[in-house]
Symmetry: C2
């Protein structure tokens, strides 16, 4: 019998693993089980379909199952849910064809778990009313679009001001809905610190989004089975013909934990640099597992698309008998909030202190272009560094040139550069793109002086 690679999950990490395994092992039997009816799509594009910027949900699809079947000989099975892993027998119990489908056993030589993450939806009173959504999978987008078109809501509430919450608030606002964010903490984007959060809140308000800080959503109320308002814990009622819950995600690791795979503090699956789990012949990749944070040296849960694809490659490579290692993350991400680019890499000051660093932070605000060149704006940079001057993290917000500038700090973190080395980098200068001394260097200079 041929060796068989079984992969649970057919979105980013799962398909990356399947494709990499196929590149390496032309003869391997590769089977991918996907619980839903959708594979290979850009989940990060969902808010832009809701806003109307991207006309149809289908544009987020990259490839259909036939592409993988016919072109790469990958057996891709939709509506196939893994119910149980039996490592001792190298078997997965799978229900095919939806909730009433038949349960069968699928054997494997090696298994890759790429079960992803799921949105957290707190079971508040009224949470089963129609019109309350999370936004994670293609089907979430499909359901929300249908509701928007069918019901025609005029007011929206977004619960939670994390990056998906911010993108959804913008999407509702751009669709013309009167939109309110309810955020339990006193800041947007818990992964940021300092005045950057304020800039984001200012931008949201300037675009007409209302923000209620420091209050939790406590209940949903409505009529005719549909949500009409959100009540906060202080009793405030906020009109909401539609609600998006963006309070966070959790790793889908129940299946793994039941099979005895080790999980970390975060609840996500523990892996080594080869993406091996604690159980032989089982690998994990993507949003269901922890990764090495190169700055803190800790294993953390950091569910994002780019690391997921890369871990998928590494898992696919190793699971097909070759060797690859995942270098880990430095915690880079970026989000667009209306006209603002908001990016971070490494640790925030709070995270650095919690990780045991003697850390400090500075902020620096500098123009994005030569002062005399029209159309520029200011970039606010916050750098976090330790006593030796080693960079620990960077956060940036501005109207242009942020999304790529953060990557220079990410590269600096990768190489363990100190702030005085960052100041000395030879960076590109031309009046339309940067001042003579780039904001990246200005901020490093300030950090060096302090």
């Amino acid at each position: 019998m041929r060796d068989r690679l079984l992969i649970i999950g057919g979105v980013a990490a799962g398909l990356a693993a399947a494709m990499q395994a196929r590149r390496r092992a032309p003869e391997l039997d590769i089977t991918v089980l996907e619980k839903s009816g959708d594979i290979s799509y850009g989940a990060c594009g969902l808010p832009y379909v809701i806003s109307g910027l991207i006309p149809t949900l289908d544009q987020l699809r990259v490839h259909g199952p036939e592409y993988f079947r016919e072109r790469y000989g990958i057996d891709l099975r939709l509506h196939s849910e893994a119910l149980e892993i039996l490592p001792a027998k190298s078997i997965v119990r799978v229900r095919a064809g939806g909730e009433t489908g038949e349960v069968r056993e699928e054997g494997y030589t090696r298994l890759v778990l790429a079960s992803g993450a799921q949105a957290v939806c707190p079971p508040l009173p009224g949470h089963t009313l129609a019109g309350i959504f999370v936004m994670r999978h293609l089907c979430d987008g499909r359901r929300m679009l249908d509701y928007l078109e069918r019901v025609g809501p005029r007011t929206a509430v977004v619960v939670g001001a994390g990056y998906i919450g911010l993108e959804m608030a913008q999407a509702f606002c751009e669709r013309g809905l009167r939109t309110t964010i309810i955020e339990a903490s006193h800041n947007v984007m818990s992964t940021l610190d300092g005045v950057l959060c304020e800039r984001v809140a200012e931008e949201l308000r300037a675009k007409g989004v209302e923000i209620i800080f420091g209050e939790k959503a406590a209940a949903f109320e409505g009529g005719a089975g549909r949500v009409e308002r959100v009540l906060t814990e202080t009793g405030r009622a906020v009109a909401a013909d539609i609600v998006n819950i963006g309070v966070g995600v959790r790793p889908q690791s129940t299946l793994a934990a039941s099979a005895g795979l080790e999980t970390g503090e975060s609840g996500a699956i523990t892996t080594d640099a080869e993406q091996r789990t604690s159980v032989q012949n089982i690998y994990a990749a993507g949003d269901c597992c922890e990764v090495l944070h190169r700055v803190s040296g800790r294993r953390v849960w950091f569910p994002l698309g780019q690391p997921a694809v890369r871990q998928g490659w590494v898992a696919g490579e190793n699971a097909s008998g070759f060797e690859a290692r995942y270098a880990g993350i430095v915690g880079t991400n970026v989000v667009k909030v209306f006209e603002l680019e908001l990016a971070r890499t490494g640790l925030s000051l709070a995270e650095a202190l919690a990780s045991g660093f003697e850390a400090d932070a500075i902020e620096s605000e500098t123009p994005s272009r030569a002062s005399y060149y029209p159309g520029g704006s200011k970039i606010l940079t916050r750098l976090v560094y330790d006593r030796s001057g080693r960079l620990l993290g960077a956060q940036m917000v501005g109207r242009e040139g942020v999304a790529q500038r953060i990557d220079v700090y990410a590269a600096a973190l990768h190489s363990n550069l100190k702030v005085d080395e960052i100041e000395r980098l030879d960076l590109a200068y031309a009046p339309p793109y940067a001042p003579t001394i780039d904001p990246i260097q200005r901020a490093a200079h300030r950090a060096k002086l302090k």
Copy 2:
């Protein structure tokens, strides 16, 4: 008597040196001699004043002499030309007040040479006709603007397709002049190689700029003392009511060489990492001196604004009795050619081979945003690397996201990263700004496979 720091040159490097010395040494006598009547201006902005994008030349001025005098106690003397340096006596002979001015001796404890570079203007037949300009200093811009307004030219020729030539061609074109570039080689931007040059030529032609490759300008002809056409060496006549010569620059190092300061192959002044010249108590900084190229390990002449300012800081620091070192360059620059961003860092393939590397190159073309996100375009990347996989250089061209992406490669060069390490960087991803796997990483992946 107080120690006296004398600085020759009052633009980028000279003023950076003066300011840094003042920060470090509040009591030091600091005198800056500037030959022209202009100091502290953004020379890189000149093409944008010519194009009309920046309404007046005055917007390029950063500070006037009184700013430096009153606020920092720096004695800034305009129209003061250094004629001779006498190191044995620690004296500079200076003519003040223009060509007929008085010659005086100025003593120094330490001297910083920041005499810059000058545009090369080949003495072709007819080169003294009115309407023929170089573009280097503020006064060049002033003269050209005056000519444009007074004479109202309708056709323009730019001789040389280096980055200033390209910017000037764009400026003329945007002013509505019928513009032709005459370039002796078969490519724009001699520092680029591969198909990137073709992309730039396509962009220029698409905007209506004609390009004549492989021919040299041989003579200028005209009537009533004004240029009317450029003749090429093959006898072609190109209509030209105005001409910009952009065939290159040369270091202004005659004064230094006459005083016995060592100069390199390029003719620019030799310095060490502290910006010391071969003669005691004399420092040099900016476009008049060579710098260490960190990739080739050679001392090269690379006259650009950002390195000039940084060398100025280092020279000012050391010349005031403190210690600083200039880390050298990796050869980064960027230029805007109409809607194209064109950037490079490190060595081109030709330069790498000439520097003795066993080098190879790949090209990679990838989208600037997620495929489904509207408004994206493609970025063409060329990477140069050696047999061990060490990155030696990168070149990029595209309509967005190039000017900052090149800086990630610059940081990678600074840290001597290999292409497989660059592939593993944790870079920012969001649909409006990048595909899941960034063009930076896609190109590195291709290089790794090869």
